[in-house]
């Protein structure tokens, strides 16, 4: 009983489910209680003990099916018997050619599993490795010897026997490929984790369509994480000490004996964020991620005013609050997207309509490349913001060396930003936001 379960736990771990040693022990105890006879019950039980979130439950489902339904080269009983032997000592007396000739399925399964274990087939990660693994397993099972045998038969003129053996070899190769594919399928979720980490550092404008969905998931998770962390910081600040003055005053009726106590409460300072997002043609590929992030941010923080601008500026707080991410982004892009940007005009719009939104508790985040098509940049408005707001943060998707080149007005705005960062990928975004939440507000 131990071995299949151990093997399963290892497989599940490789698939990306986190299983601690304590949980492994729990799994053993649970399986001891329930027995191994009932497959459905086994699945229920392991699912309860091993998979600890909804995502993990889905992974678990996949792993369980793949692991406990491994198709065999032979019929199930023989394979089971073979597995039992294989766990002991791999007795490989018969040559591969003999086994193929006799169609000894149990023996072949045993040899295949043994070879797979010896070369570590379970370690497979990527599809490109599949051929190599198939070849290695074939070698390990005695391919060289088999080839010699075929050549010998041909030399002896026994073409029929040689052909037959060659066919058998091809069938075996197909079987080995299936075996490797199963391990590959088990490894697939792990590949996703690796891809996610990579995606975070890919420049936003270089993402292809396939990545967009995963990216969205990452950004959403990021915003949730930030919200949790931020919430904790705020709660910490609420704890207070005994308020001696109020306690004494409250208890004068009891002759100063402190029956009821009063505690100091520190005032919460809610952060207010005003975000301005450039959606013009020059930042088009990045804009939808910035909007996506803005949407997630509006979910995470209680008080966010969002604006989008290109040739002029509009208030998008309501759209973001009302619509789902996709429709909100589509709506904003339809209203104002992809025009040539005019920072001066947009800033003036903001100054005329919404300057009252900004006070000393407000953080202003501007997301854009500061390319204003040689119009008046109106840097004095940013200066006014700098004077009024608690923080002015500028996130620029262009790399720092290109700031100020061509029609980029970044260097004119730069003196009036508390923080100015290049923000080319999700990791940059993550870092800046974490800083904003812990230190800034």
């Amino acid at each position: 009983m131990e071995l299949p379960l151990l093997g399963f736990l290892q497989t599940a771990r490789r698939a990306g489910i986190r299983i601690s040693a304590a949980e492994s022990l729990d799994a053993f105890r649970a399986v001891e209680t329930i027995g191994l006879t009932d497959r459905a019950a086994l699945k229920d039980v392991l699912g309860l003990v091993v998979a600890k979130s909804r995502e993990e439950k889905a992974l678990f489902e996949e792993c369980f099916e793949l692991y406990f339904t491994r198709a065999q080269l032979g019929d199930a009983d023989a394979a089971a018997a073979a597995r039992a032997d294989a766990d002991g000592s791999p007795a490989r007396n018969a040559s591969l050619a003999d086994m193929l000739r006799e169609n000894d399925r149990a023996g072949l399964t045993l040899a295949l599993e043994g070879a797979g274990r010896r070369i570590g087939a379970a370690g497979i990660r990527f599809r490109v490795q599949a051929n190599m693994y198939v070849q290695q397993i074939m070698q390990e099972m005695g391919l060289a010897e088999l080839t010699r045998e075929i050549e010998r038969l041909r030399a002896a003129g026994d073409d029929a026997a040689a052909d037959e053996l060659e066919h058998a070899r091809d069938r075996l190769r197909a079987g080995v490929r299936d075996y490797v594919e199963r391990y590959l399928a088990l490894a697939a979720p792990a590949e996703n984790v690796w891809r996610d980490e990579n995606l975070k550092t890919v420049p936003l404008w270089r993402l292809d369509r396939n990545d967009v969905e995963r990216m969205r998931a990452i950004v959403r998770a990021l915003a949730k994480k930030l919200a949790t962390r931020y919430g904790r910081d705020r709660r910490h600040r609420r704890h207070g000490h005994l308020d001696v003055r109020r306690t004494l005053r409250r208890n004068t009726a009891y002759d100063g004996v402190p029956f009821s106590t009063a505690w100091k409460k520190r005032k919460l300072e809610k952060p207010r964020v005003v975000a301005l997002c450039d959606v013009s043609g020059s930042v088009a590929p990045v804009a939808q991620f910035l909007l996506l992030f803005l949407h997630s941010l509006a979910d995470a923080l209680s008080d966010v005013r969002s604006f989008a601008f290109s040739s002029h500026l509009i208030d998008v707080s309501d759209v973001l609050a009302r619509e789902t991410v996709e429709s909100a982004i589509a709506e904003i892009v339809k209203q104002i997207g992809f025009r040539s940007s005019d920072y001066g005009r947009s800033l003036a719009d903001f100054k005329d309509g919404f300057m009252d939104e900004v006070d000393r508790r407000t953080s202003v985040i501007v997301m854009g490349d500061a390319r204003s098509n040689y119009s008046n940049p109106r840097a004095e408005i940013v200066k006014a913001l700098y004077a009024r707001a608690k923080l002015v943060i500028w996130l620029n998707p262009e790399s720092r060396p290109s700031w100020g080149t061509g029609d980029s007005e970044m260097l004119r705005y730069l003196p009036y930003c508390h923080i100015a960062r290049e923000c080319a990928n999700v990791r940059d975004l993550e870092r800046t936001m974490a800083e904003l939440l812990t230190r800034g507000t």
Partner: protein, 317 residues
Amino acid sequence: MQPMNPDPARAIEAVAAGLADAGYIATRQIATAVYLGRQLQKPILVEGPAGVGKTELAKAAAQFLALPLIRMQCYEGLDESKALYEWKYGKQLLYTQILKDTLRASFDESAGLDAAMAKLRSFDELFFSEQFLEPRPLLRALQAPDGAVLLIDEVDKSDEEFEAFLLELLSDFAVTIPELGTIAAAVPPLVILTSNNTRDLGDALKRRCLHLYIGFPDPRLEQRIVDVRVPGVGGRLRAQLVAFVQQLRKLELKKLPSVSETIDWARVLLLLNVEELDPDVVRETLGVLLKFEDDMTAVTNQAASFVIKARDASVSG
């Protein structure tokens, strides 16, 4: 620990039947979770959308096991003094005030500072004894003589500090009170934690629990649930209303209707003496199922076609 049951499959069925008697229709998985929780003495962490019966499960389990249900609702800012125990500060103070004169008299008798100190120390012990201890839900669950079902509701709403504090309780069924020492449970309670996943729970907590995810039930199960909870509803209407709700769950809504909403709706339809769904009744009572204006408008337009489909489904199913 209970004696090992020779046939776990039958024991799980017994749990399911027991829960059904308590008015809770459990899937195999849920019954297995309760069974394992008892056998391994592990807490069960139940996650799932709001209204699928996470809290109900604890209530039904308590009824089935004939144990008292002790419920602790979590919220932001919940701390030990609200969850575990508190000293009855007012009572302590009142006693010292009343006994002031007696105390003074007894101190006057004692010769010298040392003797008075010794005496004071013995009073100190007196004032921090169980007499002045106000047990809160967690302590009550440990002290219950025959064990209990402890429901820690919406644990995701509590702070992370509180979650960390729960760890000792969940793994050892014991808590430490500085003035009194460690109090261990005579009979380990069956602990059920629920979470709506408003924040991710810590790994340490998850590791100590069995994890049960309850999703929306399939039509057949939901019909059985409605049958048990709202017995007056006829078979045809039941099939129709369940089919209707199941269709709503496939839509993109802000808040999908849950089992509790299905039950409420069945009750409303019963009160209105409805025998068969029709679009008008649905439109009038939609407020029971959907909680957002936007959702209501989205569904109202399609109500007629949903009703037709629901009728078809109830005939074929």
